[in-house]
Each structure stands twice: as C-alpha cells, then as structure tokens.
Symmetry: none
Subunit: 402 residues, 2 copies
C-alpha cells in the first residue's frame, strides 16, 4: 500500500465577502474532492499548532514528520537545496536575487529587470572569490533568483539581510544579529563577498551588453533568508519507505531533497493535470510520494479570488485520476497553510485534510471545505501527526509496547 | 482589531440532577450568547490538558499563553501581586489569613471572625520583624486575608503550610518539604516569624479592643500556598500588544499584574453589567483586554444551582453590549474551568469557548453550551492555543517560515 499526499498549496482561505461569505474551496465546484471526502475521513489540520502562521517550508517539514521548531532556522537552506546545490549539515545558506544598483549603491531594481539569460555565466564568475578560507557555492535559479551557500568553520546564520527589500534604498550592510565571533565573521566576509562580487559583476560582458541594450545590469547580490542547513534524518531511514517528491517550486524541492526524498524533475510551468498524471505514474516506483500543486497559493497572494476558485476546480478535475488508486492505496489531500485572498498572505487558520483509502473509518462529511471537515472523523490534528497516521493505515509502523 | 476575552469564572458545569440533567449554562436562557455562538466559531477547551483540574490561576496563565507547568509553583505569588505587593522574580510568597488561636495554640477561628477593620494597623506591626537578614513584605487584603513575601538569599518555596485548614486544630509547625538547606532555613525563619508575629499581635491594641467587644482577636498568621515568583515575559514584550485586565478578585488581578497587564481598578462588589461596560469603555485604550466575571464560580462553590443559572443569565444580558464591538473586533467567551455545583469545587472537564468577530469560519452551533460546542468548528483546543489563535485572527502574528 502506497501513500500519496497531494498538497494544494495555500488552498485554504477565510470566508470572502466577494464570494458571499464562502471560501474559494467552498465556492468552487469540486465533485471529485466531495466524492473522495464522502468515501474518506476528514478533519481540520494545524500545520504547526493552532494559530501559528506556517510558511510552505515549515508546513512541508511538519507534514513529512520533521519538527520545524527544531530544524528550521530560515528559508536559505531549502532554497539552496532546491536549486540543486549540494548542501551539507552546518552550511549557512541564503536566498539571493541578482539586482541592479547605481553608482551610489542604491538598488534601482531588486530583480535586474527579471533577467532571464546569462545568469549561469554570472554565477560562474562569482564562484571564484576566496575570502578567509571559506568556500562559497553560488548557483543561479529561475530568472533573477539564486542561492548562496557558505561552508567553513566558525560561521553563523545569525546575520541580517543585504537585501533592502524595497527599490530606491541602499544595499544593506550585513550585520551580526548576536554577539558571537561567528556572526561577526560571517557578516564581515559576506560584506566583502558582496563588494567583490559587485566589482566582478559590473564589469562582466553580460552586463556590458545589458547596459548597451538599455536593460538593468545584474550587478549586485541581494541576500536574505539566512539559515543553517539542518541534519535531517533521511526519509528512508526514518520510515523505511522509499519516497519521492514532485514540485515545481524550488522551496518545496529543497525540502524534499534535504529530507532525502527523490526530487522528480518537472517543468516549472507544468499543468496541474500533468503533475497529477506524473504522480500517478511515478507512485508505482515508490512507497510514498508528495505532490505539491502551487497555483492556488499564487492566486491568493495576488488577491485573485476568482482565479483561486478556477485553480481549485482545475485541481478537482485533475484529482479524478486517483479514483482507482484509492481502492488499494491511500490518498491524502490537504492545504499546507491558509492563504487569505483578502489579506494576500498566509494566515494561521487551520486547513482541511482528507484521507482516502481502503481502511479508513469513513465519516459523514460529503463536501470538502474548511468548515465542513471540522465535523469529520479526524477532528483536529497537527502536521506532524500525518506520517504516523499514514504509516499506521498502511501497516508500516512498529508497535510501541506489547 | 482588538481582542476582548471574557472569562466567565467556573461557568461550565456537569449535568445536574436538580436541573433535569442539564448544566446551568444549558438550563439558563442565554439569547445573547446563543446569537454570538451562531455568528462565531465554537469549541471545547481544555484549560491545561484533558482531565487536568485547573485552578483559576493556572487556567488564566494558560489563557494568556504562559505555561503553568513551567511557571506555577503555588498560589502565593499571584495573591501577593494581587493585593498590590511589589513582588520580584525569586521572591517566596504565601497567602495568609489572620486567624484566632487560644493559649494552647489551637485555632478557634481560621478567619478571626471575618475581621473587617484594623488589619492595616496589624499588618504594619508585623512588617517590622527582622529574622536572619530576610526581608518581609506583608500586606492585608479584604477581610481576614493577607499576603506575605520573603525576599533574600537561600530561600525555598518547598515548605508546608502553617494553616491547619480546620478550626479546632493546632497551628502547624512549618516543615521543609525537601532536604535542601534552603527549605530548612525557610521553614525555620517562618516559624520564628509566626511566633514573633503572634506575640506582637496578641498584645496589639486592636486585638485588645476586639477581646473587649467579645470578638475573636486576629492573633495568628495562617500561611498557605507557598510559591516562588516566576520570571514571566511581559505581555507587551511577548506579543507586542498593550493589554489590560479587569477583575474583582485578587488572584486574577495578581496573574494580570505578574504578566504585565495593566490591572484596572474596580470595586470588589462590582456588578456584572458594570464590569462589561467598563471593559467596553477601556478596550479603546488597549489592544487586548481580559475581563474576569467571578460570580458563577462562587455560586457553584456554594452548591447553589439556581443562583448559578441566574448569574449566567445576568452575564448573558450584560454581554449584549458587545454586539457592535464584534463587527470589527474579536470577542472570546469562555469558562476558565468547570466548577461542579454538585461537588462544590473545580473539576477537570473541558469548558465551552466561542470566538466572535469579522473573519472567523463560522460553524452551525446556535446554542452556547458545554455539549453543543463540541460540534463546533474549533473542535478541541487548549488554553495555551488561545493567544496564538487571536494573534492570527487579528493579523498580529509573525510568519514562521516562508
């Protein structure tokens, strides 16, 4: 028996005035989810704990059974792993943007005109800066995005961002956030690294060409989301299961990678239907698969209620292909956090979850929504409960006691 | 957006034979609570954890987001803070009664005839006893009640009561409750303090007058509820919110005070309606307000079921003034613990809670009662979840992750 978890990123919402007081999930026509709910067991889920505003990273960690309060220090490590950097426990990692500064060090564009070409070459140049014996790993990602990893002795993640977070402001000098010599050293070498990188970038032929073409040059590195790479027990060792992950976004790929899941390659703009089909195909090769569907979250961040409804309906249609699968296996459908379309960001409200498969104690929820599932048979559970529940349902958990 | 928590002290109950198997809350006519429940989200709440018999002190600590298992050692510190003693972390504090002993040291009245006058003078006398370099702070409260604080090096709260808890028994010698030199020292100096106080009190002119008038003299201090004053992070620092507390009972005022809430002065016999009105007025000045309504608990301790029903109906009527408030703010109504009218004391049953305000995911509970709310959208939560849930609803919680 296999477990497939479909994470509908940011699908849960609050009641929206524009939808007559319904949430997008309540408003959308979701015959497949409703049918699954009817044959499954439902409940409300606190990704971390009641009221806690989870990120996608902390929530996915919890869903996979890791304690984010113990292992999560910042987004950098997961972004870095997500772009394919081989990070190691103890590495300090950052999210980066290629940005544009003028000669007064004012950020004129935090995304260097959403640069699409040449960042691989730019990254290559930056990888050759040696400072105080620390190794730098730098890798470009989609568009202006990149990740930076520091590896060496005596480093700390307790440092501030260089990213000023708004255009029109000066690049921030990185500051240590505690009194340790490690934080002081990390801040010092990062500031030197950024300065050196700036020199190398501004004279780079790719940027010369961009300036000629009247495009903003990618001449500055904006760092944020510092974190230390945690030592995570590999999924296979933790549970004895082979596992894989399908996600189009780097952050979730990074989580999967650091947890030891096989990260299956999909195009960044893959359609929901194709993601689901791929999951159905690939689950044959694994005991466990996590599929992340990003689009509902994007719509909510954009305050686009109708688009969120459409995405949910698209997800619902795509899920129909799992009707056979759940006769012998388990399908979990949930949202990793609430993203309020009105607010445009995550909130700490609970999310709906359903588990479908041959031996669940079905309840009388017939309609998969944030409010209906509160009467479901799972009652209220937490992200970190899910793996144990699934190991139990699939007869893969050791008896504790006799 | 503001949060107002109305704690209906001891309102929850068990089904009572005298009320046809209903609880007082189920039996009472509560049209306002029912209306609020209909427009809000309900659930059952374990103040500490399922089955744990909470006191008002431990429950209020949990409701305010502090872990009573970590910070609570006894009632003394909160009583002392509640009577206005300026306690400091590490102080050892006790609840005290002025009582009456005969010449054989037998307690003939644990409350010195519920003495109402002169305790301030008596307290002044006692404040001048120096023993082994320890500082004493002693302050009278309402009637026969008082609080004692010890401040100094090498003290412990691991000591027994001097209060024999029943009239007709000898004053207890205070004993150390562990083998530490600190407990031994604390017991030794307290016994000396009580002996010295007894000498000063029995000769005091106020007591001479009481004896003349055939009233029991307040000639002995009965100590109980030893605890060490915890170092509590101030509410403002913990949550970034300005907060206040309205309570007529010293214990809850003490909790508020030690948590750094502004304790707003109200008469000890304030009417429920006036308490609610004051809360509605004062919430304008704060982000957060906790209002404690004591009367239902008192009725239950007195085994007075009909009186408890009347108190609940009075609370219900008073709550009607919050109808406008909840259009833009959040109102939480709950009981801090169950007080069984039949048993006459707290029990560890869960309590009902409802949250009303603009963006809650309403459920179909239309009747606020211990049993009906179990089907509500909050399902089952704990006291320590409340603050996170409210910070989330009012958009005042940081995102954990990205």
């Amino acid at each position: 028996m296999k477990t497939l978890i479909v994470v509908c990123d940011g699908m849960a919402d609050r009641p929206l005035r524009g939808l007559g007081g319904k949430t997008p999930l309540e408003f959308a026509k979701t015959p497949n989810m409703d049918k699954f709910a009817k044959g499954g067991i439902c409940g409300i889920l606190d990704p971390i704990a009641p009221g806690i505003r989870a990120g996608s990273d902390t929530s996915h960690l919890a869903i996979l059974g890791y304690d984010p309060i113990k292992v999560y220090t910042g987004r950098g490590p997961f972004e870095a792993a997500g772009v394919g950097l081989e990070v190691l426990p103890g590495d300090i990692a950052f999210r980066c943007n290629f940005g544009t500064v003028n000669k007064d060090n004012i950020v004129t564009d935090r995304r260097a005109g959403r640069i699409t070409e040449g960042t691989k070459d730019l990254a290559k140049t930056i990888n050759n800066i040696p400072i105080e014996g620390v190794n730098y790993l730098f890798k470009e990602s989609a568009q202006h995005r990149a990740a930076l990893v520091l590896r060496g002795e005596g480093l700390s993640f307790k440092v501030s961002d260089s990213d000023p977070h708004f255009a029109g402001k000066k690049v921030e000098t990185i500051r240590p956030l505690d009194d340790s010599p490690e934080a002081a050293k990390t801040a010092r070498i990062l500031n030197k690294f950024i300065e050196d990188a700036n020199k190398l970038l501004k004279n780079h032929k790719i940027n010369a060409k961009r300036v000629d073409e009247d495009k903003p040059p990618a001449n500055i590195l904006l760092l944020r989301g510092a974190g230390i790479v945690p030592r995570l027990e590999k999924f296979k060792d933790k549970y004895g299961l082979s596992g894989a992950c399908i996600a189009s976004v780097g952050l979730v790929k990074g989580i999967g990678s650091l947890c030891g899941l096989e990260v299956l390659d999909v195009p960044v703009d893959i359609k929901i239907k194709d993601s689901c089909q791929k999951a159905l195909n690939e689950i044959n090769n694994y005991d466990f698969l996590l599929l992340n569907l990003k689009d509902a979250d994007n719509a909510a961040h954009d305050h686009a209620a109708q688009r969120k409804v459409s995405v949910i309906e698209e997800i619902d249609e795509a899920l129909s292909i799992f009707s056979e699968f759940i006769k012998k296996n388990y399908l979990v459908v949930l949202s990793d956090h609430t993203t309020s379309t009105e607010y445009g960001d995550h909130t700490g409200d609970s999310v709906p979850i359903m588990i479908c498969g041959p031996e669940v104690r079905t309840d009388d929820v017939e309609d998969f929504g944030e409010r209906t599932v509160a009467k479901g048979g799972l009652n209220r559970i937490r992200g970190q409960d899910i793996m144990n529940i699934m190991l139990n349902l699939t007869y893969q958990i050791e008896k504790f006691g006799a």
